[in-house]
Structures are given as structure tokens and as C-alpha cells.
């Protein structure tokens, strides 16, 4: 009896996202973005040298930042705030690895559109409900907290027809965290192969995308796509629950990714 009252006391705590915006999520610094003003070459060089995962490169048009590598250490933001800043946007997941490099340029749109159409065709039938099998392929442990948070009352993904399933036989979507270790390779492949087609793979977190800070070692393959074909990449170190939710929603084509470049 006391628990019934306790349950009712809070009222509704669940986010309205994606139907409406979420005040907290929208203000959360979900990724580093590249701004218009370019810092001095010397400062940029410092940013590149200091980046622990080599996420920053400089092209003719200016600096590029790979969110698939970024671990949010904030050094570039400290060195060159006019060029790099945290952006209050958690909708950073993309289908296609190239989409994680910011700022994206317009000419990639054609290839991106093809990629997205493929994902959309695969997942058309998941739109009403999708069952997720999560596999830890060598995470640092924090990613699992964020994945598990999706079922707490704030995110409550069941309301969107998203369910976690115990058996790969019932799963439509494989959500992978961690660097993809040599030790987990067989188990990860076996899980993927046990899933019925059509199926879709989401790599969650910088470690799953590129190996993050761990990168390649004798025991780490440096990213899930060394083992499986990945459809959607969710950046973050670890990705936040909102970031994960967005990634799942674009994977099942409930939400569409922005076209025309990303900042």
C-alpha cells in the first residue's frame, strides 16, 4: 500500500520526447561542434596534438571533428573556444560513419540519402514496435548504465513500442556497446546470426564506433564494424539515454535524420 502512494506521488515524470521537445535533453551538451570562426593555425595544431583520440583534422575548408572518435574530454573547447564548442543537441546519431564528422558538407547528401533509404526499407516494419538485444562487446561499464536508463520512468521507452528482449531470436535491433574485444567477437557474431532478418545494428558510444580511447590493442578490435555491418552510429562517451533513444528512433525510421549538413 505505501508503494502505491509512493508511485503516484510524483505525477508524470516521463519525457514527452520525441512527440515534443524535452527541456532537459535539449539543453544537454551532447557533442562538440565546429563553429564558423577558425582559430590560428598554431592553436589548431595544439588542438590536434592534444586530442587523445585523433578526432580533429584540418581540411582546406577548415577543421573537421569526428564525433565517432570524440570522448568529450573538452581540451579543444578549452584551447579554441571560438572554433570548438559543446552544442546543446543530443540528436547526434547518424546512419553511416561519415555523417559523424562535423561540419558535414552538402555534397555527401546523395550518398547519405541512399544509405538512409536502405535503412528505412530494412526497418519499415519496426516502426510500430522494435525489440532490442543489447550486447556488451567490451565496454567500460558506463554504457550499460545508460542503456538500462532507457527503461526508467523518465525515458520509459516501452511507451514508444521499444522493448528489450532476452533472446536474439526475438530481436530486430542489435545494440552494441564497447570496443569489440577479441574475446567477444564470437559471441557478438553468434548473437547477430541468431537474429531473424531483417535486422539492424546500432553501435553505441565512441568505443563501439572507433574504439574511443582504447582504440586498437592486442585485445581490442577498435570498433564494432570490424565484426558486424553497422547501420546506425550513436556518438558519446558514453552516449546519453536521450542520444541512444534518438539513435534507436532513426534506426527504425520513426525519426528522420537532418539533411543538408550537420553542425
Amino acid at each position: 500500500m505505501p508503494w502505491i502512494m509512493r508511485g503516484l506521488r510524483h505525477g508524470v515524470v516521463t519525457s514527452r520526447y520525441p512527440r515534443l521537445g524535452d527541456g532537459y535533453g535539449d539543453g544537454f551538451a551532447g557533442g562538440v561542434t565546429v563553429r564558423g570562426d577558425v582559430a590560428d593555425a598554431a592553436v589548431l595544431d595544439l588542438c590536434i596534438a592534444d586530442c587523445p583520440t585523433g578526432a580533429i583534422t584540418v581540411e582546406a575548408d577548415g577543421p573537421l571533428l569526428d564525433r565517432g572518435r570524440c570522448v568529450h574530454c573538452g581540451r579543444c573547447v578549452d584551447h579554441a573556444p571560438e572554433t570548438f564548442s559543446y552544442s546543446p543537441n543530443f540528436q547526434t546519431a547518424r546512419s553511416g560513419r561519415e555523417g559523424l564528422v562535423v561540419p558535414t558538407v552538402g555534397e555527401d547528401d546523395a550518398s547519405l540519402a541512399v544509405l538512409r533509404r536502405r535503412v528505412a526499407q530494412t526497418t519499415a516494419m519496426f516502426r510500430r514496435s522494435v525489440h532490442i538485444r543489447h550486447v556488451d562487446a567490451g565496454s567500460d561499464g558506463s554504457d550499460e548504465w545508460e542503456v538500462a536508463a532507457l527503461t526508467n520512468p523518465v525515458y520509459d521507452v516501452q511507451r514508444l513500442g521499444i522493448f528489450f528482449t532476452a533472446s536474439p531470436r526475438h530481436a530486430d535491433l542489435l545494440l552494441v556497446t564497447g570496443v569489440a574485444t577479441v574475446g567477444m567477437r564470437d559471441a557478438l557474431l553468434a548473437t547477430y546470426e541468431a537474429m531473424p532478418a531483417p535486422k539492424i545494428v546500432v553501435a553505441a558510444g565512441a568505443e563501439a564506433i572507433s574504439g574511443g580511447l582504447i582504440g586498437h590493442t592486442y585485445a581490442s578490435l577498435g570498433g564494432v564494424d570490424h565484426v558486424l555491418p553497422v547501420d546506425v552510429y550513436v556518438p558519446g562517451a558514453p552516449p546519453t539515454p536521450f542520444g541512444l533513444l534518438y539513435g534507436i528512433l532513426i534506426a527504425v525510421s520513426i525519426l528522420a535524420e537532418p539533411l543538408g549538413g550537420t553542425r
Binding site: 532537459y24 573538452g74 565496454s139 561499464g141 564497447g178 580511447l213 592486442y218 585485445a219
Partner: protein, 488 residues
């Protein structure tokens, strides 16, 4: 490190270890340091709060050293780890199954799959069989495999296999800058990022003989205690989920989310990352003291009510009582640490044994610990510690608010790196955490760390004295460990 005594012969080393164990010193683990020709093994002990080590240098050509497992069962996992990572064999040790990785280095340095593979031979009783449970299990879990021997319902034997997750973090430390190494430390056990960054930074600070500014020490304490609260709540959430207490699960997972959001409000990261650095912290908390105090008060009140109600809910308490009992003797023999040890009556806590940062200036709450040793006792320990953590956080906020002027509020001290080696520690939410850091020419040469998760998981098989399959989830949650920290 002047706390280290080197033995010239294996026999002398074994004798020194035996003498310490007989005199009741707590075995903290064996940490290795790799040189070009030899590997140095240090057996660490806690002698009434002082950390000391017995060292043996083993030439690669020799490749063997005396096993300590007959002296203390807590040494068994360290010896398997040393063989996995450095190829040295503990002579006289029967269990040589790979633990942290099956990728072994051949003598020439070339990688190979472990030659010793598969489960160790064991004699099964009539009707008993072995079930490999994992590494992919139902639910959102870190990957681990438990080989469970059972005859149907009773769990007769459990053997954890943790090598699936091994990432080779120790190899990544080598040659890293000190700044990058802190980030790596945070990722070696992500749910205890703050504790790992602290233990690493403490080692560097001890090496250069430098402390941190008082306000930085206070900020460190706030982050470390919020991390403890988050981990302890996580453990209770898992119990509520396993026990099918839907409302308690919803309420407490909501609280955990609030703790994570408060941590993100303070520093931008939900796990308190990129805050702790050698010499202090990266900057001022992003929340004003008044708001922080208010947020902490409301969180503490809400958690207190929920946890109190949960411990008064018979259907929850009955599920945990008598489940996964660890006797005081078992806990002592395995020299367990953290809430796992405290639930059985061993009350060691590094924050009091070897206080660091601002802990000496903050009045510690004396917690009365239960000693039943079951899952319920471990959970009661966590509930008490959550309360104590909030008390400590409030004190730290009061003190920080007193530093009003800019001059006094310094967050970091510049450190000039020197070559050498030092040990650092912290009380992670899971228990005592140790880091031995060796610097050379301004970068890291080696890092050897020992997480509480590694040390405590070794006694997990002992937590099934008369327990059944359905107790598994409860016993596992009551240990509150992270597999990333075991196999990193």
C-alpha cells in the same frame, strides 16, 4: 616507493608474505611491473592502515615464482592474471585456466591463443552438470560468463570467466601522457570513473610530493561521494528489479537518474569524467552552492524515504535475508573489501584508514554495520553509506561556500613531473582501489591497478553456500561490481 621490501630469493619472499599473513595483515593483491628482462611482483599488505609491499623480481628466463595460494586463497586470481599478462607461472598452483585474457604472449612476445583452454577438469557428482551462463545474458548486463555446476536447482559451484571483456587497457597506459592516462583510468572501470581518476592522480601527486588546493580536495570529495551514491542506488535498483518490485524499481531508478543529472550539472558529464586531474580538478563546479545544497537535500530526502520504505517491505527483505551469505571467516580469508566485506563485519574503509583529499577535514559519519553477511546485510551497508555520503557532501559544500574570494578558490596546482614510481589509492564505491604509477621522461612507463571489483569477484563463488539458481541475480547485484574493472 619506500614502502617496498625486496626479497632476494623466492623462498625469502614466500617467508616474508607468510609472516605478514600470520601477523594478521590484510592481503591487498599482487601488482606486477614489467621490465625488459624481468617482471617485478609486489604483494601488497595493509598493516593497520599502512600500505606495504613485499617484492620479488622474477627473471623472464626463470619464468616461475612460488605460488601464494596455499597461504591465502585471495592470491589465486592474481596469479592467474600474472600468467595471462606476463607469462610467469606460479609454481605449485593447480588452477592455471586463463582469467583476464586468453591471448597469451609467447616467449618471443608474439601473441597466441592460450594453450591452456576450456574448463578445468573436475569430477561431477552423479546428476550434476555444468551450465555456461553468459557472456550474453538476458537483460542489459556487462559481458561475463559464469560456469554454474548444478544438479537442477542448487548451485553447487560457480566459476566466473571474465576474459571476454579484456580490452588491454594496461597496454594503452604505456607511453601515454599523464593527462591522457587519467582519461584511460576513468575508462578502465566506467562506473567508478572518479575513483579511478583519484587513485591515479594520488599516485602522481605522491610521486611529486604535492597535494591539492583545499577547494579542489572538497570538489573531489563531492564527485566521489555522488559516484558512491549512484553505484549504491544502482545495486538496490537491480535488487528491486529482480524481486519484481515494480514501483520501487521505478522510484529508485528515477532517483538514480536524478543523481546522474546532478553529476552532469556539476561538470557536464554524467559520470563525473574529466574533473579529477593530478594537482586538483579541472575547474569550478558549474552549479552555485545554494542550488547545489538544495538539490542534494532534496535528493537525500527522497532517497532516504524510498530506501527506508524498501527495507520495511517484507516481500523485499525476505528475498534478501539469508541469501548469498558470506561468513566473516570467508571474507577475512579472501581479504574482501568494500560493502561486500562490510556486510560481514569487516569495516575497513580507505577513507578512514588512509584519508586523502578533503576527508581528514570532514567529520566522518560512524556507521553501524550489520554483520550477517547476506545480501540484505550488504544492502543495509549501502543504505547507511548513501546517508553518510550525503552528510559528507553537505559538509563539503558548506566548506566550499566559505571560500568566497577568487584568490582562495584555486582549483589546481601545477605539477612538475619527475621520474619514479608511487602508489595511489581511493575508496571506490566497490571498495579499495590501488594504482601503482611509474613515470619516465614525463610520460607513463607502466600502470598497474587493482580494482575492488577484481579483488571481490574472486570470492563470488563462495557466496553460494546453500543457494539456488533463482538467488543468482540477487547475489550478483549485492556484490555491486563492474566486469570492466575486473578484466580491463
Amino acid at each position: 616507493m619506500h614502502e617496498v621490501t625486496r626479497s632476494e630469493t623466492p623462498g625469502a619472499w614466500e617467508h616474508a608474505v607468510r609472516t605478514r599473513l600470520v601477523s594478521g595483515e590484510r592481503f591487498c593483491g599482487v601488482l606486477a611491473r614489467e621490465g625488459s628482462e624481468a617482471v617485478s611482483l609486489r604483494a601488497f599488505f595493509d598493516r593497520r592502515g599502512v600500505l606495504e609491499a613485499e617484492e620479488l623480481v622474477v627473471e623472464r628466463q626463470v619464468g616461475r615464482y612460488p605460488s601464494l595460494t596455499s597461504l591465502t586463497p585471495a592470491a589465486a586470481w592474481y596469479e592467474r592474471q600474472v600468467e595471462d599478462l606476463y607469462g610467469l607461472v606460479a609454481a605449485g598452483k593447480e588452477d592455471r585456466e586463463p582469467l583476464v585474457t586468453r591471448l597469451r604472449f609467447r616467449a618471443g612476445g608474439e601473441l597466441s591463443e592460450a594453450l591452456v583452454s576450456g574448463a578445468t577438469e573436475e569430477t561431477l557428482r552423479d546428476g550434476s552438470f555444468v551450465v555456461p551462463y553468459g557472456p550474453v545474458r538476458s537483460g542489459v548486463f556487462e559481458s561475463i560468463q559464469y560456469e554454474v555446476t548444478t544438479s537442477g536447482e542448487n548451485v553447487e559451484r560457480v566459476r566466473p570467466a571474465v576474459w571476454f571483456k579484456h580490452r588491454g587497457v594496461h597496454a594503452r597506459f604505456e607511453g601515454a601522457s599523464v593527462a591522457d592516462a587519467v582519461l584511460l583510468a576513468e575508462r578502465s572501470e566506467g562506473v567508478a570513473s572518479v575513483a579511478h581518476a583519484l587513485a591515479f592522480s594520488h599516485a602522481v601527486e605522491r610521486l611529486v610530493d604535492g597535494g591539492v588546493p583545499v577547494p579542489a580536495g572538497l570538489v573531489r570529495v563531492i564527485h566521489a561521494e555522488l559516484e558512491r551514491v549512484a553505484n549504491h542506488v544502482d545495486s538496490v535498483v537491480r535488487h528491486a528489479e529482480a524481486a519484481g518490485q515494480a514501483v520501487a524499481y521505478a522510484n529508485l531508478s528515477l532517483r538514480k537518474e536524478h543523481v546522474q543529472r546532478l553529476r552532469a550539472d556539476l561538470c557536464g558529464n554524467r559520470f563525473g569524467r574529466s574533473v579529477v586531474i593530478p594537482g586538483g580538478v579541472t575547474g569550478e563546479p558549474r552549479v552555485d552552492w545554494v542550488d547545489l545544497r538544495r538539490a542534494v537535500d532534496s535528493l537525500a530526502r527522497a532517497l532516504d524515504q524510498d530506501l527506508r520504505a524498501l527495507l520495511e517491505t517484507p516481500s523485499f527483505v525476505d528475498r534478501l535475508r539469508g541469501t548469498g551469505t558470506l561468513s566473516l571467516d570467508t571474507v577475512r580469508r579472501f581479504a574482501a573489501v568494500g560493502p561486500v566485506a562490510r556486510g560481514s563485519g569487516v569495516t575497513d574503509d580507505v577513507r578512514m584508514l588512509r584519508p586523502y583529499d578533503a576527508y581528514p577535514t570532514l567529520g566522518q559519519v560512524v556507521v553501524e554495520y550489520p554483520s550477517e553477511g547476506d545480501a540484505l546485510a550488504r544492502q543495509i551497508v549501502r543504505v547507511h553509506e548513501i546517508d553518510a555520503s550525503f552528510h559528507t557532501i553537505r559538509q563539503a559544500i558548506e566548506q566550499l561556500a566559505g571560500f568566497s574570494s577568487g584568490q582562495e578558490r584555486s582549483w589546481r596546482r601545477e605539477i612538475s613531473l619527475v621520474d619514479g614510481e608511487a602508489i595511489g589509492w581511493a575508496e571506490a564505491p566497490q571498495g579499495e582501489l590501488l594504482y601503482v604509477v611509474e613515470l619516465e621522461n614525463g610520460v607513463v612507463r607502466t600502470v598497474a591497478s587493482r580494482s575492488a571489483s577484481f579483488h571481490n569477484l574472486a570470492l563470488f563463488p563462495s557466496a553460494f553456500p546453500r543457494d539456488v539458481f533463482t538467488d543468482f541475480a540477487f547475489i550478483e547485484a549485492s556484490f555491486g561490481l563492474s566486469i570492466a574493472g575486473v578484466a580491463n
